[in-house]
């Protein structure tokens, strides 16, 4: 059974309503279309779609359950990926770069007395950087959606991008309460920043941001692959 353009659109709309994320939508849309193309018995389009969803997935409700289970798995997988990248900086051979970075930052903060203003500017910037980075990726994602939507390919938010958002926002959520609830500790840190604290803080922030960027790069690679393929099509 070959789908007409109208049937294809109907199927996209139908699955779009049930499946909210790119990972599950793409996979199940392909499954249903491929199953339809292999159908030899002539029944109506609606009945055929209903039969496939019932036979292969156990019905409409199971599609949502399937998405929920896949989301849980993708979140676990993304967090694991982030932790692997982050802890990777403390394992050989990257450990050498990390140690070199620590030594350089420590030497710099120890011998070139940072002004209070510099510390107060750098540290919040490092806290906010992962979140800012996420906003940039979000803008890029939005521009991408706008451009590609015209080609008839339905792009949806990805589970993994949501996890990146959460990881990007985490430092802000961790340090924000200090501003309000622990002012004395917070202020003492800012007024007399010890080189060890500054070094630890800056290095952790840099490695955190680098791990996040690597994680995003993994997602962007698979997305670029789709862009190129869609463009060719």
């Amino acid at each position: 059974m070959k789908l007409t353009e109208q049937e294809g659109e109907l199927l996209k709309q139908y699955l779009s309503k049930i499946l909210k994320y790119r990972e599950t939508y793409d996979e199940l849309y392909d499954h249903v279309v491929t199953a339809l193309s292999h159908k030899t018995t002539i029944t109506s389009f609606e009945q055929s779609v209903y039969d496939i969803i019932t036979d292969d997935f156990g019905g409409y409700d199971n599609l949502m359950k399937l998405e929920k289970a896949s989301k849980k798995m993708a979140i676990k997988d993304t967090i694991k990926g982030f932790l692997i990248y982050f802890t990777g900086y403390f394992k050989f051979p990257k450990l050498l770069y990390t140690v070199a970075g620590i030594v350089m930052v420590y030497y710099f903060t120890l011998h070139f007395q940072l002004t209070l203003w510099t510390v107060q500017a750098i540290c919040p910037a490092m806290i906010c950087f992962p979140q800012l980075y996420y906003f940039v990726t979000l803008i890029k994602e939005f521009a991408f959606l706008q451009k590609r939507d015209k080609k008839g390919y339905v792009f949806k938010p990805a589970f993994k991008l949501n996890v990146i958002a959460a990881i990007g926002t985490l430092p802000v959520w961790i340090f924000l309460p200090f501003t309000y609830w622990l002012p004395p500790i917070y202020l003492s840190f800012w007024h007399s920043p010890h080189p060890v604290f500054v070094t630890s803080f800056l290095m952790t922030s840099v490695l955190y941001a680098l791990s996040l960027m690597k994680l995003y790069r993994d997602i962007a690679i698979s997305r670029t692959h789709i862009i190129l393929a869609v463009d060719k099509f």
Binding site: D26, E27, D30, H38, D55, D56, F57, K65, V230, F233
Partner: protein, 112 residues
């Protein structure tokens, strides 16, 4: 048509074994291959396949690539090196279970 719970415990082994025999496969292709090999005896239904595939991917046994086929994205699964080693271990585990099950099922009833 077999869709019973016995299949659930061996689903990952089946997927890994199928992917060992072919370089890469996509979801629908796996369901059809299982149907073909079992001559329609085993059907992967109720969405059991995709969660199992995603679990294997999250565990690092499978890796995926996306290709555009007829204007839609198709996700292909293939074994990772780690997954290749897991096939052997899972097959041994399944074989041992089948042997034990067979021993239990072959017990002769007591003559009364």
């Amino acid at each position: 048509m077999n869709t019973n719970p016995l299949l659930k415990g061996t689903l990952q082994t089946i997927i890994l074994k199928l992917l060992e025999s072919k370089d890469r496969m996509y979801g629908y292709e796996i369901t059809q291959k299982v149907k073909e090999v079992s001559e329609g005896g085993i059907m992967l239904t109720e969405g059991a396949l995709y969660p199992a595939l995603h679990k294997l991917e999250a565990d690092g046994f499978l890796e995926t690539t996306v290709e555009i086929v007829d204007g839609r994205a198709r996700k292909y699964y293939r074994l990772t090196e780690h997954g290749g080693k897991e096939v052997t271990s899972k097959l041994k585990e399944a074989q041992a279970f089948i042997d034990q099950l067979q021993n239990l099922l072959n017990l002769k009833p007591a003559i009364k």
